[in-house]
């Protein structure tokens, strides 16, 4: 499994597209937060964590779209399936390789808390580090959930663009389920149910620095369900 993890990781490290996507994510994430940093009125990264899902909506599917689509298109999936490695190992190796790439993208945003730390110490305030760490953990959970979804779509088609668009559209709807915009025209009960399904609702507590076990369960369930569906697809022998 480690050999495939390494191979997948090397694809991004030896490919300019990998760097371009990661750097673009870092640049946009930093810019979108910094441009309004003096308007927030508090030394918190919560506004930044509110921006991230929208960026991940594009960044994560862009990284994950080729995972299985390209293997199927080039028929290299036949190489993998003729090697002594299980379908579960194939899916997990690819998932963790992609998660590593996404984590590197998130690492590029660490300049923000560092800058914020120096900025607020001059005013006598401070940044609460555990809140920051739990906030980042929440973002990693959310990225992993989006990844599992995007990998599932990638396993369904040979066309990377279709996989990308299907992932972006699904994530878009999952995000807007929790917004006031949806609440304004849907009955309260439906809106409450949909809001619960939204990763934005679930990541909210983690972004505030609260370890909400329900949110952790939600993300783990989401990830397991979509990885399981992907494994089922790879196991198909029709």
């Amino acid at each position: 499994m480690f050999a495939l993890y390494k191979k997948e990781l090397q694809f991004y490290l030896n490919n300019p597209i990998g760097y371009i996507v990661i750097v673009l994510f870092g640049v946009f994430a930093n810019f979108l937060f910094v441009k309004d940093i003096f308007l927030y009125g508090s030394a918190s990264l919560r506004p930044f964590f509110d921006i991230l899902p929208w960026l991940m909506m594009v960044f994560v599917p862009a990284v994950a779209m080729r995972t299985f689509s390209e293997e199927k298109k080039n028929n290299t999936i036949e190489i993998l399936l003729s090697l002594p490695i299980s379908e579960t190992q194939i899916v997990l190796a690819k998932f963790f390789a992609l998660l590593t790439i996404v984590a590197v993208g998130l690492l590029l945003t660490l300049s923000l808390p560092v800058s914020l730390y120096f900025l607020v110490t001059t005013t006598g305030s401070r940044i609460y580090i555990p809140e920051l760490l739990i906030g980042y953990l929440g973002q990693i959970f959310m990225a992993a959930a989006f990844l599992s979804l995007s990998m599932f779509y990638s396993s369904q088609t040979k066309n990377q663009i279709i996989a990308f668009l299907a992932s972006v559209i699904t994530i878009f709807f999952l995000i807007i389920f929790s917004t006031d915009f949806v609440a304004s025209f849907l009955p309260f009960i439906i809106q409450t149910g949909l809001a619960y399904l939204s990763p934005i609702t679930q990541v909210g507590a983690l972004s505030k620095g609260v370890v909400d076990i329900r949110a952790v369960y939600y993300f783990l369930s989401f990830i397991i369900v979509f990885l399981f569906l992907t494994i089922i697809d790879v196991e198909r022998r029709d």
Partner: protein, 229 residues
């Protein structure tokens, strides 16, 4: 080593292979001959557990290739049709990757195979930069890593020029000692040169299974007699 009993594979209402059966013993080199779409690739994919048979029984090394997939595949080398490879990888990276997935301990295997298959000069090159002949040899090297007992080669000389075809044929003859080899082709001379046994498949059914006819042109005569127009 391989046993197929009344195996059928249907895709919708179309039978790709219909009630086929044969046994392959250790050391045999079986030429799988048939026109395009006859069911050669489907049969090979069934043996590897890449397809689930609609009916019938398949045993490879006395195990079901679908349910004991990892055990079975650990001892098979496979060269798929059209030889798909990871073009962005260097040749040695690719072979190292296959070696790692097969959990092979001996790093000299790759060097030895590179010498044997004459690909030393391209080890540092990206696969996508190679000629078709070299790509085919890389695919063969990957199949041979770990010295598997069973080799399944799906049209190993397809798309190659006659000189490269001869080179690959010589290689297969060289590497096939003490192994069971099943190779598919629609090039009749290939079977005459390499195979010890011949299976002709036509429209999903085995129409001949036996010794290779002696003499030049024997395979061609048999093929024409066996395959419906």
């Amino acid at each position: 080593m391989i046993l197929l009993k009344s195996v059928s594979k249907w895709f919708g209402s179309q039978a790709a292979v219909d009630e086929i059966g044969f046994e392959a013993k250790k050391g045999e080199i079986i030429g799988f001959l048939g026109p395009n779409g006859a069911g050669k690739t489907t049969t090979m994919r069934l043996i590897l557990g890449l397809l689930r048979p609609t009916s019938g029984k398949i045993l490879v090394f006395n195990e079901d290739p679908l349910h004991k997939r990892l055990n079975v595949l650990a001892n098979i080398g496979y060269l798929p049709e059209n030889n798909p490879l990871y073009g962005e990888m260097k040749v040695w990276e690719y072979l190292q990757f296959i070696s790692d997935v097969k959990n092979l301990k001996n790093p000299t295997d790759i060097t030895d195979l590179a010498v044997q298959l004459d690909i030393e000069e391209v080890l540092e090159k990206k696969i996508e930069e190679l000629s078709r002949g070299f790509k085919q040899r890389v695919g063969l090297a990957a199949a041979l890593l770990g010295d598997p007992d069973l080799l399944i080669l799906d049209e190993p000389t397809s798309g190659l020029d006659p000189i490269e075809q001869d080179k690959i044929k010589d290689l297969i003859k060289k590497i096939s000692k003490n192994k069971t080899v099943i190779f598919s082709t629609h090039i009749l001379s290939e079977v005459e040169d390499i195979a010890s046994r011949l299976i002709i498949i036509d429209r999903g059914s085995i129409v001949y299974d036996g010794k290779k006819p002696k003499g030049r042109g024997g395979v061609e005569k048999l093929f024409k007699k066996s395959v419906k127009k």
